[in-house]
Symmetry: C2
Subunit: 332 residues, 2 copies
Amino acid sequence: MANEYFFGVDLGGTNVEMGLLDEEGTIVAYVAEPTKAQEGPQSLVERVAEACCGLAKQAQVPPDKIKALGIGSPGPMSMSQGKLINLGNLPEFKNFFLRAELSRRLELPALLENDANSACWGEFWLGAGRDVNDMVLFTLGTGIGGGIVIGGELIHGSDENAGELGHMIIQTDGRQCTCGQNGCVEAYASATATVARAMEALDEGCESELVDLRRKNGMLTCKDVFDCAGTGDSLANEIVDGTARALAQICVSMRHITEPEMVVLTGGMIKAGDILINRVRGFYEEMVWNLKPEPMDICFAELGGHAGFIGAAGLAVHAHKHHQQRLYPSGT
Amino acid sequence: MANEYFFGVDLGGTNVEMGLLDEEGTIVAYVAEPTKAQEGPQSLVERVAEACCGLAKQAQVPPDKIKALGIGSPGPMSMSQGKLINLGNLPEFKNFFLRAELSRRLELPALLENDANSACWGEFWLGAGRDVNDMVLFTLGTGIGGGIVIGGELIHGSDENAGELGHMIIQTDGRQCTCGQNGCVEAYASATATVARAMEALDEGCESELVDLRRKNGMLTCKDVFDCAGTGDSLANEIVDGTARALAQICVSMRHITEPEMVVLTGGMIKAGDILINRVRGFYEEMVWNLKPEPMDICFAELGGHAGFIGAAGLAVHAHKHHQQRLYPSGT
């Protein structure tokens, strides 16, 4: 039996995933349950704490071997204060000190990290990036999030919001983004934006298999667009190329900025598989300079939906070993 | 008298600037002399070494108080190997181990850094960025270079070429850059690109005071464009706005990527003064999202042409105190 164990909690709008891992990353127990955010933050704390205690019992890990707890949560949030700023627009969670509450309830040092950074650390620790030191992760879903590892450390920036990579501007005066900026990569290459670009083309009268799909289902999904591209539909291919080119462009820019060895793509969109990764790689090769070779792995995440709680636990391991001051209460 | 002193050498195509600084950054002696690259690398090593010895004598600093030497040089180069890869296209300098040669000749531990990073560190240590922990520097000249400080450390990336910020792509399928990419910020906002955009507009028949200036001088300079903008010329103002908007766009993107507290602009273009900085700041405020306030200082460098040797000396101080392994020969 390993000597030290760590809880990882990934708080999502729908489910909370919780795991107990040893310091090498072996998952010894795991459970997911509904978030039920509407029951309020104290109920959440109770249920998470009880579930964590249940994991320890189930795996027969004695409490004194469990050293710390990492929590991943959607933003906006304050990592340094361990505070949710908002969660699913539920007012009860506004400014809730989740880290302190769970730390007290479980009698463990704890840290809070945003969910994209947690997933990034999970992939860096045990997933696609386990053999590199410098990595960038993009989460491709409704929006686009990011995480940056430099020299083996996640970066947080001067105000804890580094890595908001969906809001890199890829086009001057470009498409409007929900964030208020114009030309963000999220406004082109998120799942939502991919569908929106397809719908706009259909509204302009473009011919495509997507016309029938939309009529039949009353809507379009990002999967529809990728599926039709896969069967040769010309408009769908144009839309997918637009998404892949936008992603390739930020891969080129990130290569010149923090120069990672690897870019890892994760989130719902990667279910599209080869059609996505091959095109992003192809456009990257086309677009990147020729002054010197810039080999960079662009690949899919390997931990799937588990990256969040694995990464949260991994951040607790890392803090416990190297940065005790990052754990609340400080000095424990 | 201070206890420890450090040499800083800034190798340029035209001049070499050399200074002797104490660990607080006080310059106790300084000299600049012609590079004379055509005389070859060994001659350069001799002349730099002699000039450095001269500085120590002039300031009456005994040799045992001088602890290390920092060298800044134009790229391409290898920092880890201390090797120039090329210098002003002079074949004699190809793959020259400048760090080892100067280290032996001066009997001092040494490091080699690229010139944009050296200038960045100079501004971070003693210039505009002296009160921040996270900073980005853009050098605005013939091209656009960059440097990134995160949490008090310069970042180098996985292949020693992080911070090539002139090659962030700001426009999909945009203007061709000399690097081979399309849409680089350098292709819009460098001094060269600013002039090129003005010339293209004139060639298209736009009216402007620049027409006469070009006729009179047989050419246009970036200063001409900024000067004419200052006196109200409409085309010149459009061109300057294009430059300022491109720079503001990368400021927005960098804010979301590494989230610096401050962006420092340096290089020949900053002689344009208020017209440049005010417009970059104005466009930044217009362009950045409104999800949360993103206050970020955008300001000019303060050390002028001295940032290079000051930064090189500062990197030697920093390595001597915190990262001995960065000094060659290692372990000294």
